[in-house]
């Protein structure tokens, strides 16, 4: 190998690693999922919840509620369309507005805990493709091997005839038009970092135990305010979702 090819190989490998990270959704499954998958026939799709922030010209973040609502509606619609292809499953659109006050508290707490649990899973149960394992102190191989995360048995409080919940969440932070314009100048001055990023997650949660049976995530730059991108996300997640409900 000549000295000239070494930088080329380095560049190519970096490019390849970056591309695989962008294109692929990664998943993990609970050790008990294979023996439980067949009994999971009644699935409740929880309204997806996203945190969307616009980054101002000087880095201040502002929550953009209307984009969160649009993303939630688009992804829910896209998931419904995808689930329609799995006719042997009974899929319910879970409506939190029908819950009693105490059930609603448990539900809200479930989503708050999900935000923490999903962040921990992404951080600790998936190795980064960019670095060798020895340089990844945040990757816990034991959590990847024995994927056991839970949202707690309290989840059964608002489900009697459901086998599993499908919970979708994530965040998207994007630069405002002002910031994009400033960044063009800042790039040359070395002043501004690109803070644009997103992370979307999905989990199949046992409705009796709260155990996370299956989990997938992607950081592909999708604008879920657009239905086409929401459909791409739903397809990506549903492709990874294991076969369920074969006992029916």
């Amino acid at each position: 190998m000549s000295y000239r090819t070494i930088p080329l190989c380095f560049t190519f490998s970096i490019l390849l690693l970056a591309l695989t990270a962008v294109v692929r959704a990664e998943m993990q499954a609970h050790p008990n999922l294979p023996e439980q998958a067949d009994r999971l026939t009644h699935i409740a799709v929880v309204p997806p919840h996203f945190h969307v922030y616009e980054i101002g010209p000087y880095g201040a973040m502002e929550q953009v509620r209307y984009r969160e609502i649009a993303a939630s509606m688009n992804v829910q619609k896209a998931l419904t369309a995808e689930f329609a292809k799995r006719e042997h499953l009974t899929v319910i659109q879970f409506d939190p507005h029908r819950l009693s006050t105490s059930q609603r508290e448990t539900y809200d707490e479930t989503l708050l805990l999900y935000d923490l649990v999903s962040a921990s899973i992404v951080r600790h149960a998936f190795p980064s493709p960019h670095f060798p394992l020895s340089a990844q102190p945040l990757f816990f191989p034991e959590k990847a091997r024995e994927f056991t995360y839970s949202l707690g048995h309290e989840i059964r409080d608002f489900s009697s005839d459901i086998d599993a919940f499908l919970i979708v969440g994530g965040f998207d932070q994007y630069s405002s038009a002002d910031r994009v314009a400033l960044r063009v100048v800042g790039t040359f001055l070395g002043k501004q970092r690109n803070l644009d990023m997103n992370q979307y997650t999905v989990a199949l949660v046992d409705a009796k135990t709260g155990d996370i049976l299956w989990f997938s995530h992607t950081s592909e730059p999708l604008d879920l305010g657009e239905y086409r991108d929401a459909a791409t996300l739903a397809q990506k997640f549903m492709l990874d979702l294991p076969n369920l409900g074969n006992a029916r």
Partner: protein
């Protein structure tokens, strides 16, 4: 050439995002002044020397099993003359453990990330053979999640030593509490 630049920028950006602490690689670790048997199967970390925030707090080591947001044990030691982060109060060597506990509770209450704090216990205890206090705290995170903390603390050898366990109340706090209490009993002075 532009792609090469972009890829290098991506790579360097990823390097810049590495955490300012490192895995101690074992189930037990020593701090500078005390020794503790850290729980088996937990990941123990020590902050990097360059981590100013950790140095200010005197954070020696911390450990988690599923992720720091889901359960964390922290061991810290700092000079008693250092002011607290939020209240700017200081301690004196002749203070009784429960007086120290009140000052620490005040500082926790002043933390903007701690909401609806309820102190359900403030009692005498022992830590590393020294007279200490035990605080049992219930609160909500800024996002609204109910969390619970146990804090042991003592003043000895001119240092404030704190050992704490914090986790969401739901599912994560109770199962790991006995593990934390066992670890607390293992803390001894080594110098």
């Amino acid at each position: 050439m532009r792609i090469v630049f972009l890829m290098l920028a991506l790579f360097l950006n990823a390097c810049g995002g590495l955490p300012a602490f490192f895995d101690t690689g074992g189930s037990s670790s020593n701090s500078h002044q005390v020794y503790a048997d850290w729980p088996e199967g937990w990941r123990t970390f020590q902050p990097a020397i360059t981590d100013r925030e950790a140095a200010k707090e005197g954070l020696r080591s911390f450990a988690t099993h599923d992720g720091v947001g889901l359960q964390i044990i922290r061991l810290s030691q700092r000079s008693i003359t250092d002011a607290f982060k939020y209240t700017k109060k200081t301690l004196s060597p002749d203070m009784l453990p429960l007086q120290v506990a009140r000052i620490i509770a005040d500082d926790i209450r002043a933390n903007p990330d701690v909401v609806d704090l309820i102190i359900s216990e403030m009692s005498p205890a022992t830590l590393a053979g020294s007279e200490a206090f035990r605080l049992n705290l219930n609160y909500r995170s800024k996002a609204g999640l109910r969390r619970q903390s146990i804090v042991y603390g003592c003043i000895d050898k001119g240092l404030l030593t704190l050992l704490s366990f914090d986790a969401p109340r739901r599912h994560y706090f109770s199962p790991d509490l006995p593990t934390f209490e066992r670890m607390k009993d293992s803390v001894i002075w080594i110098s």
